[in-house]
């Protein structure tokens, strides 16, 4: 809302200087004053650091001494001489491909369950949302490590059933799966959004479909999904961006190392290691910009594809 005040083009029929104009100007000033906390925050905490990191990405910067300009060296090294960079990019790709669909499917399934009127549904909604509130915290990742480590809860339970897999977080072939599971478990935020979307689907559509003889499955695929597709798009974009930036789980579960055997070396974790343990902040900044560009491109791709599968009510189909 405030934006429109700011960027409002002068109306075409604005009369030349009149007494009212001064008042409007003052009104704009007040708007800036009220915006100032946001402007200060955006410039100091977002735009400034971003500009700085763009500059740093063209330098050799070890955190302690002044940065040295090296041109595109960091980018060249990244693409041509750093196996771990490609490994981290591939690990993150796998992570995104597994965790995002799983999380969205879970979120949608639970939202459908919770959409039915029943007693205590408010309580269930809160209960299912709770993991997402906790999710960002380190403590859940710690609990995850305890659950899936060697002789941890899951290992012991499986051993009792006669299945001896060892600790999942300690083995390269399973470690990433535990991170995917951790992400999927935190389905609360997209679930709440799905739930809101489900509430918007007009009841008449279901009634009409039922009268036409559509069963529950048919109703889901022909009514619910199309009507929900804008919400699915929103959640897909949001969760994809989030998944590319996943850091906390991998950091905590692997104690910051990305192990075992680099199997949980997600891109942001490698970026962090480059910056803060190898003291190569210039390189880390370059990695951040590559990530930004890739995520932006992918998001654009998703939006383009959305024309084919997202249905807005009121459109003709």
């Amino acid at each position: 809302m405030t934006q429109s005040v700011l960027t409002r083009p002068p109306a075409r029929d604005d009369p030349p200087p009149t007494p009212s104009r001064g008042r409007r100007r003052r009104g704009q000033g007040v708007a800036y004053l009220f915006l100032s906390p946001w402007i200060v925050g955006a410039v100091l905490l977002t735009i400034g650091p971003m500009a700085a990191s763009l500059y740093l990405s063209f330098t050799d910067y070890d955190l302690f001494d002044a940065p040295d300009w090296v041109g595109v060296d960091n980018y060249v090294t990244m693409f041509t001489g750093d196996e771990r960079f490609w490994h981290a990019a591939w690990t993150t790709t796998k992570y995104v491909l597994f965790s995002v669909p799983l999380k969205l499917a879970l979120a949608l399934a639970v939202a459908l369950l919770l959409n039915r009127p029943r007693r205590g549904v408010g309580l269930y909604r809160s209960a299912f949302y709770a993991p997402s509130l906790l999710g960002a915290s380190v403590s859940v990742a710690l609990a995850w490590r305890a659950l899936f480590s060697t002789d941890g809860t899951v290992d012991s339970a499986l051993a009792w059933l006669g299945i001896d897999t060892g600790g999942w977080v300690d083995q390269p072939q399973y470690a990433l799966l535990t991170l995917v599971a951790l992400a999927a478990w935190q389905f609360g935020a997209p679930m709440v959004i799905f739930l809101a979307g489900l509430k918007q689907v007009p009841r008449e559509l279901y009634e009409a479909a039922a009268i036409d003889g559509a069963g529950p499955a048919r109703r889901f695929f022909s009514v619910t999904l199309p009507m929900l597709s804008p919400v699915i798009l929103f959640n897909l974009v949001l969760e994809t961006i989030n998944a590319f930036q996943a850091f906390t789980g991998a950091f905590v579960v692997s104690s910051g190392r990305g192990g075992p055997s680099d199997s949980t070396l997600l891109y942001p974790l490698y970026l962090y290691q480059r910056g803060f343990t190898d003291f190569r902040m210039g390189y880390a900044s370059a990695m951040a910009w590559v990530l930004l560009v890739v995520v932006a491109l992918l998001t654009a791709l998703v939006f383009r594809s959305s024309k084919r599968w997202v249905f807005y009510a009121g459109e003709d189909r």
Partner: protein, 429 residues
């Protein structure tokens, strides 16, 4: 963007200025006047935290005008935090470093030179010269050893007795790598635990093996002192123990980070473990007193073991209270009361008077360390040289690559070649 009236711009400016002023107010305060607050950080186990806290409390009691804030964490987390804080200009005043990081931090101008304090407010006359030498980079004193340590095999005798495996503990007694392998194999075959924690992950123990072969990890010029063949031979020697459970399995080994709580012996996955005797108090604290100490095996007269500063203390160059930080450092090193409290929590005390005092009337753990150092005294060589800049990256790459070896993701020779290649890059930069 619309136009801004002069008045509203002024309003904005005033708003900004007050914010800035408020922020600046937080960092204000005149150093030198009134009570001084120091930040002192280290890594270590619970036991070290407990005794260090106690020593710091004693220091504060005697110096009411100096307040000391302490922080500690595990090794990896410690350096992650430290680098972030130092880069952000919020570094500590007194900090703990090890051989892999001293050179790095000194060469990046993070540390204050201590030469101007040595002999004055910082007494060093009771500290052996070879220990002091370990705190120098390019001839300048950047840190002072917080203790003396040497390599050790710590073991749980019950497993070895049950398996009928013999470990030499008497003074002067020694064993070969073949005898070592035999003992570990027996324990692994007999019981549920591995003979010893797989020690191939840490560059530190490889250094001992190299010494026994007349080589070194780093040359005095700061270059790599070993070849792909050396590392291949070493890792293959350890790999031969793995199938028979002579060494711990991969999913245990991958968790090793030098901390006591993750160690194979404390988590009951292995019957013994190679370590520095500066962590013995931690083992005793976490495992219990039923542990014994033995020397590392060697096939030659040279034991490969050396007297080393396990960790050292340094003062930050950017500290606003260097005098107070040096005062705390001096207290930790030279005060009898502090020495008594700290015991052998960072190896045997560097100050020879304190060392004698600690060893004479010490607790079980500190006594075990003193006894071991005494028993091995003829075999412990002079300190190895300081590790060059880039060595902390070498240390990390070494462990990471070893993970690939134990999970069978890459052959030993190829992994060794990768370590050498990565190391040459890290040391060159």
């Amino acid at each position: 963007m619309g136009r801004v009236s002069r008045r509203s711009a002024a309003g904005l400016l005033v708003g900004l200025l007050t914010t800035t002023a408020a922020l600046a107010g937080c960092g204000g305060g005149d150093p030198g006047d009134g009570p001084v607050t120091l930040r002192f950080v280290w890594w270590g186990n619970e036991d070290r935290a407990g005794v260090t806290k106690a020593a710091v409390d004693e220091f504060q009691r005697r110096n009411p005008d100096i307040r000391v804030e302490t922080e500690y964490s595990g090794y990896d987390a410690y350096f992650q935090k430290l680098s972030t804080q130092v880069a952000g200009g919020a570094g500590p005043d007194l900090l703990q470093l090890d051989r892999a990081t001293l050179g790095e931090y000194a060469s990046r101008n993070v540390l204050a030179e201590l030469d101007e304090y040595a002999g004055k407010s910082l007494k060093v006359d009771k500290i052996p010269a070879n220990l002091l030498e370990g705190g120098k980079v390019d001839g300048k004193q950047y840190s002072v050893a917080a203790g003396a340590t040497t390599q050790v095999l710590v073991f749980d005798p019950t497993h070895f007795e049950a398996a009928g495996a013999k470990v030499p503990t008497a003074p002067g007694e020694k064993w070969t790598w073949a005898e070592f392998a035999d003992a570990m194999g027996k324990v692994g075959a007999a019981g549920t635990v591995a003979g010893t924690t797989d020690f191939g992950w840490a560059v530190d123990w490889f250094e001992v093996w190299l010494r026994q072969h007349d080589k070194q990890l780093y040359t005095p010029e700061g270059e790599l002192g070993f070849t792909v063949e050396d590392l291949t031979e070493y890792w293959e020697m350890i790999g031969a123990l793995r199938p028979g459970k002579g060494v711990s399995p991969a999913e245990v080994t991958t968790k090793m980070d030098g901390s006591v709580q993750n160690s194979g012996i404390v988590t009951k996955q292995a019957a013994s473990e190679i370590g520095y005797d500066s962590t013995i108090t931690g083992y005793f604290g976490a495992f219990g007193p039923n542990l014994k100490l033995a020397p590392l095996p060697s096939d030659v007269a040279e034991s490969g073991m050396a007297a080393l500063p396990p960790v050292s203390f340094a003062v930050a160059r950017r500290s606003e209270h260097k005098e107070a930080a040096v005062k705390l450092l001096d207290f930790l090193l030279n005060d009898p009361e502090a020495g008594k409290l700290l015991g052998a929590s960072r190896g045997v005390p560097p100050n020879q008077d304190i060392r004698a005092q600690v060893c004479a009337g010490s607790t079980a753990a500190s006594k075990a360390v003193c006894d071991y150092e005494e028993a091995q005294k003829d075999k412990i060589g002079p300190a190895f040289g300081a590790w060059p800049t880039g060595s902390s990256a070498v240390k990390r790459d070494f462990q990471r690559t070893y993970d690939d070896v134990i999970f069978n993701r890459v052959g030993v020779a190829e992994a060794a070649a990768r370590v050498v290649q990565d190391a040459e890059q890290s040391l060159g930069s």
